[in-house]
């Protein structure tokens, strides 16, 4: 069995490209099943509304996080996803409850899209017992074992080997599941990405590698940290099906993710998606954002994934006038309730400090 190979050789540009068809029969078969041609999977207006609302929900949740951070309710490092919502929402559409997700420290969007309740995420940022990590993780370390959401990894590229292991277990037991691993463009400079890309391709692991290329490794621009900035091209060199996608278009992301996940489920080994996106806010709440040109930020804001989808739906007459307002109200209520619940939730007592260091308390130490 050899994995489908699809290399891109064109020079990287700021614009993104439509995905191209994979070359092997095995992969293309699965593509036809879940790609644009298949009417069963073709997103309709109702589905587009769902995508839009899911992105709005993440956006509003995080905007509230900004307020709460300013009010010193939330502390630590908080990395906002604002601008990148199309990636989490689009990719999530291709995943089932049985699949697994490994994420980064910029993972509020991934966690919410995966179905972790807003209350549990907010409570975690408050450091409360009801948080999805019991208050031990905070913004960068959201976990939910039942939803197979394995964090929340704050070492750049550190989650990628772990994701390969989840995929390895599935492969060894013949379980047709996908492990989806999110990471940023900065991970391309880490050995752990390259070690794992090689391992995953070598072992044909059912791994979906999702690179959120937001063009900055913290404050260092892609051109300043990568000698070759065409990330999909480099991933393809490992023998993975690999392509770049407009990460500001939720529908394009979804289509690509379906195609990649379909290929993986069909046994074509790991797939790599480079999702070209942009964060509208600074790297973290500490970041004064001195390294980006304001005009560049404005150019990308013109590609706001929420506005783009809204405009597209309006053009098609798929949104009536009251609809966004209604969704906004519902989302606002949900975020209000999450904040209220976090405010009311108990804090961990300091007596519980050593709980969960080991599964059973050490008899001797």
């Amino acid at each position: 069995m050899s994995p489908a190979r699809e290399t891109r050789t064109r020079k990287t540009s700021k614009t993104t490209e439509a995905p191209k068809t994979a070359k092997t029969p095995r992969a293309s078969k699965s593509v036809r099943k879940s790609g644009k041609g298949a009417s069963a999977d073709r997103p309709g207006a109702a589905h587009r509304r769902d995508l839009l609302h899911a992105m709005l929900r993440i956006r509003r949740f995080e905007e509230r996080c900004v307020e709460l951070y300013s009010a010193a309710k939330i502390r630590g490092f908080v990395h906002l996803y604002i601008g990148e919502e199309a990636v989490a929402v689009g990719v999530n559409e291709a995943l089932t409850a049985d699949d697994a997700v490994v994420s980064t420290y910029r993972e509020h969007g991934h966690a919410l899209a995966r179905g972790i309740p807003a209350e549990a995420v907010m409570a975690e940022m408050y450091g409360r017992t009801t948080g999805c990590s019991g208050g031990r993780g905070g913004s960068m370390h959201l976990f939910d074992a039942n939803r197979r959401f394995y964090g929340g990894n704050a070492i750049v590229a550190g989650g990628i080997p772990l994701a390969a292991g989840l995929a390895l277990a599935d492969r060894m037991r013949g379980q047709p599941r996908v492990t989806c691993c999110f990471f940023g463009d900065g991970a391309f400079a880490e050995g752990e990405f390259h070690e794992t890309a090689n391992l995953a391709a070598l072992w044909h692991l059912p791994l979906l590698l999702v690179c959120e290329n937001n063009r900055y490794a913290m404050g260092t621009a892609l051109e300043r940290h990568e000698a070759q900035t065409d990330l999909a091209l480099r991933a393809a060199s490992y023998g993975m099906v690999s392509w770049a996608v407009d990460g500001m278009d939720a529908e394009a992301v979804e289509t690509a993710a379906h195609r990649a996940a379909g290929g993986i489920r069909a046994g074509a080994g790991p797939h790599f998606l480079e999702l070209r996106t942009y964060r509208f806010r600074a790297h973290s709440m500490y970041d004064p954002d001195r390294y980006r040109d304001k005009a560049e930020i404005e150019r990308w804001k013109a590609q706001d994934p929420i506005e783009r989808l809204t405009d597209r739906m309006r053009e098609r007459g798929e949104l009536d006038d009251k609809e966004p307002a209604e969704a906004e109200r519902r989302i606002g209520d949900e975020v209000d309730q999450a904040v209220e619940a976090a405010e009311q939730a108990p804090e961990e007592s300091s007596e519980s400090l050593l709980r969960h260091v080991t599964s059973t308390p050490a008899e001797v130490s």
Binding site: A100, V102, G131, C132, S133, G134, G135, R136, G137, H141, F143, D144, A145, Y150, G151, G152, N153, I155, G158, I160, P161, L162, A163, A164, G165, L166, A167, L168, A169, D170, M172, T179, G191, E192, E195, T196, N198, L199, L202, R355, H356, V357, T358, S359, T360, A362, E363, V364, S365
Partner: protein, 331 residues
């Protein structure tokens, strides 16, 4: 097996480890072995020789030279319900996987609020004595023993080599097993286990009344030889094998010092910031009024491990060093 039956047989530390691996893989199909050259090569030190033929390439899995990736993959597979045994060739190479061991394996359970235990076993070779110079010879297990969230064990006897793996695999948390390179060829009789081998307690390998020689791993044979020499000099030395380096069995250490009132800690790692320092500090904290003499330490010289035989021998704790330290404490 009945207690009256003589079932002892000649074996080596290497074969005992292999027997433990074979038993684990036969009894639990979630168990698999992966690492560099564990399959076709038979293991860098021959520990897994023959296992590929018995269990096949899915369960005896040769990896690329990517310590971080395959250790991380072990963690992920453990999270997904497998029971991986990851072999790293030497402790020096394990530093390439330190991110995964510390930031993921040791941390995930706590960071996730108790949701994600990591039932992973990592085996690696440690220690000097084979003229392998400064990148294959160090004893860094004390660094690992610094980390909350993992268990660190060091089998020093045939019985522990044979029987520590099963409880390590049964542990819901990560267990690091340090196999000293000079022990692989150690041979002797291995009988059926007297009782279930536990991972919580140190063992008194030789009883004595005048001084406690506290050690582990590759230094245990040296401490036992030193005890023989000391007996000739009329000094009765007790030898304590720590076995588990984290969590440390402070009770057994304190009980031994309470019997002998003197202690020499023998540790092949560098003295500064070492496990020997930790053991000494615990004796000072908990057994100060039992002591009739200052605690002595015998450790490696504070230099990268040299190649030349004479230099390597000079760098390592030797039997004569242990005997001399014991005399300083007793005389």
């Amino acid at each position: 097996m009945g207690p009256g039956r003589t079932d002892e047989r000649k074996t080596t530390y290497r074969e005992a480890l292999r027997e433990g691996l074979r038993e684990a893989m036969r009894s639990d199909d979630r168990v698999f072995l992966m690492g560099e050259d564990v399959g076709r090569y038979g293991g860098c030190f021959g520990v897994s020789l023959g296992l590929l033929e018995e269990f096949g390439p899915e369960r005896v899995r040769d990896t690329p030279l990517s310590e971080s990736a395959f250790v991380g993959a072990g963690i992920g597979a453990a999270l997904a319900g497998m029971r991986p045994i990851v072999e790293i060739m030497t402790v020096n190479f394990s530093l390439l996987a330190l991110d995964q061991i510390l930031n993921n394996a040791a941390t995930l359970l706590h960071m996730s609020g108790g949701q994600l235990p990591v039932p992973l076993v990592i085996r690696m070779t440690t220690g000097a004595g084979r003229q392998l110079a400064a990148q294959h010879s160090h004893s860094l297990e004390g660094w690992y023993a610094h980390i909350p969230g993992i268990r660190v064990i060091a089998p020093a006897t045939l019985e522990d080599a044979r029987h520590m793996l099963a409880p390590a695999l049964a542990d819901p948390d990560p267990v690091l097993i340090f196999e000293h390179g000079v022990l692989y060829n150690a041979s002797g009789e291995l009988g059926p286990p007297a009782a279930a081998v536990d991972l919580d307690h140190a063992a008194v390998r030789r009883s004595g009344t005048d001084i406690s020689l506290i050690t582990y791993g590759g230094s245990l044979p040296k401490a036992l030889m030193a005890a023989d020499e000391l007996a000739v000099d009329g000094i009765s030395a007790e030898v304590v094998d720590l076995r588990t380096l984290r969590p440390l069995d402070g009770g057994t250490i304190a009980a031994s010092v309470a019997r002998t009132h003197r202690a020499v800690v023998v540790d092949e790692a560098w003295r500064t910031g070492s496990l020997a320092a930790e053991v000494s500090a615990r004796i000072a904290e908990g057994s100060f009024y039992e002591l009739d003499a200052p605690v002595e330490r015998v450790c490696s010289a504070e230099c990268p491990m040299p190649y030349a035989r004479r230099l390597e021998e000079a760098a390592l704790p030797q039997v004569t060093d242990i005997v001399a330290a014991a005399h300083r404490a007793v005389d």
